[in-house]
Symmetry: C2
Subunit: 328 residues, 2 copies
């Protein structure tokens, strides 16, 4: 009996092709889409049983989508999938994200930004360049502080795991209001005000879906202490851009650490801001690179390939997307 046909939609390096082969070739025949002529491509898609995509918006067009007649499963390699044009895939077949694949890297970046803001690293460096040596202006200690984590998937839980040993109290919210991770509080979006009031730090790791778009606006920012630190490693759209800019200008001791943006290259083809966030002294900006630690891409692809193997072996794949993610 022929093995199922697994189409790889992106163009992997030789090392990654070997990785796919190691993980999958016992259970499926691999077809690398970018290697094919347009006739071969059409046949490959029509005969595909499963597919792995990195950035479907760039890898597949509407014509390709019409040929996905026999497909039974799609594995996406990114953790966030709000930028994926879901209409490319038949509505009835299962699609998995790679949620949590970059969780540890994202958590390290979130903690790096929290600590840089707590210790005012960029600000005091500039002060020294300007001739001021502020040795006795108090900075924030991590021990004894409180961190609210909004969204408690892979990245959120990994953030908690880094902060708790530092003596930071963790108050988290997720969809279920339940977690097996040790935390000081777990709730749902109903508890948003409770976890934000009194938090020294707020880390956003939520998925972007209809209910999280614009979740953090003027009212919610007003719940925070005037010297709180807000970290966004999820999606720009979860925070109201205008409200955040006004809040930063009006509260010079408030700090925003922004790694996720409203209009950014991978999702929108460019980086663009409505306000000059990069000029504010109370902003630490990062180019959505928290997932890009050395080795993290290979690890995440291995993780996606292993989930595909699970499907090929007749098991339930992990990280299946629900309606909220697929219809956003």
């Amino acid at each position: 009996m022929a093995k199922p046909s697994v189409v790889i939609a992106h163009d992997p390096s030789p090392d990654i092709r070997s990785l796919y082969s190691d993980v999958l070739s016992a259970h499926g025949d691999l077809v690398f889409l970018p290697d094919l002529s347009s006739d071969q491509r059409k046949d490959a898609l029509r005969g595909a049983d499963a597919m792995i995509c990195y950035n479907p918006r760039l890898e597949l067009d509407d014509e390709d989508a019409r040929n996905l007649e026999s497909i039974g499963f799609v594995q996406l390699l990114t953790a966030g999938v709000d930028h994926v044009p879901m209409q490319l895939f038949p509505a009835t077949i299962p699609v998995s994200s790679n949620a949590g694949a970059f969780g540890e890297s994202m958590a390290e970046h979130a903690v790096a930004m929290i600590m840089a803001a707590a210790k005012r690293l960029p600000f005091e460096h500039q002060e020294m360049r300007d001739g001021r040596f502020n040795q006795f202006v108090p900075t924030k200690g991590l021990r004894g502080s409180v961190c609210a984590i909004l969204g408690f998937g892979g990245a959120g839980r990994a953030t908690a795991r880094l902060l708790r040993p530092m003596g930071v109290t963790i108050k988290a919210i997720n969809r279920s209001g339940k977690t097996e991770e040790p935390v000081d509080f777990i709730g749902t979006s109903d508890d948003l005000e409770y976890v934000m009031r009194g938090a020294d730090f707020v880390v956003i790791t939520l998925s972007l879906i209809e209910s999280t778009q614009g979740l953090i606006g003027e009212r919610e920012l007003g719940w925070l202490a005037e010297d709180a630190i807000l970290v966004n490693v999820a999606r720009g759209e979860i925070v109201d851009q205008d409200a955040l800019y006004r809040h930063l200008v009006g509260n010079p001791r408030f700090f925003a650490c922004l790694e996720a943006w409203w209009i950014e290259p991978v999702r929108h083809g460019e980086f663009r801001l409505d306000h000059p966030f990069l000029e504010l002294p109370n902003v630490i900006a990062a180019p959505h690179n928290s997932a890009s630690t050395a080795g993290s891409q290979v690890q995440s692809i291995r993780r996606g390939a292993e989930n595909m193997r699970r499907w090929l072996m007749g098991k339930n794949p992990e990280n299946l997307l629900g309606d909220a993610e697929r219809t956003f």
Copy 2:
């Protein structure tokens, strides 16, 4: 019987005066030196059984020192004491530092700087301001990395305690080559080359004594990987300033996080550099403020006062200085 007379040489705030009173008044009579006229001052010093100093260079002059006839113990409130003019105190009486008092705060600052450098926070922020969005340039992961810690007192051990839960391997050196702290390696200065070779990060928390002055020079920097990160939260003089500057210019991927400086306000009355470190893109500079977290001053004074109480109660005080610290 009269209680022993404890002279406080610095000028504490009302809150700190209450703290001293709470901790010490059952065991000693407190005399605050800055409150006295010059005649009273002379009598107070002549009758002093013990003394607490913050920065003796500013608090006592040679005339005061000649009146310390009856003193039996001196408690210093700083962790590092290389800037203390030890000739102020009779050579035969015990002097304690406040070593470890700021260990946790210093460790947090050291880890904040390691992570900021590993994630290239200041560099990528500037890149974004310059219009470059380097989303896929790999940063360093903490998990799986190796940190050498030079000096394994309060700050060094606290640094290890923050880094180990992040998956960082700890290789430390101290004077004894022994520790009860869980580490992957502990050695002495004989092992300096071993711990520095292969380290992703090096954190200096050593005391400045004759044997550590200029310890890290051109040869030692040459042992490090070209993209290693060097953190100094101890004393500038432990690192050869010229050698470090040349190393930073010659190795643009190498990062130095400098919180301790060669010529700096508290110890020398001014901040001065022989080279423009603050202009280099691979330097993170901090104004020797790692100890200045909110509340840390109060905690450290409480710790010093409690050590004084130990002496007043006839117990052995902690952190007694040895010859190496007193003759440097």
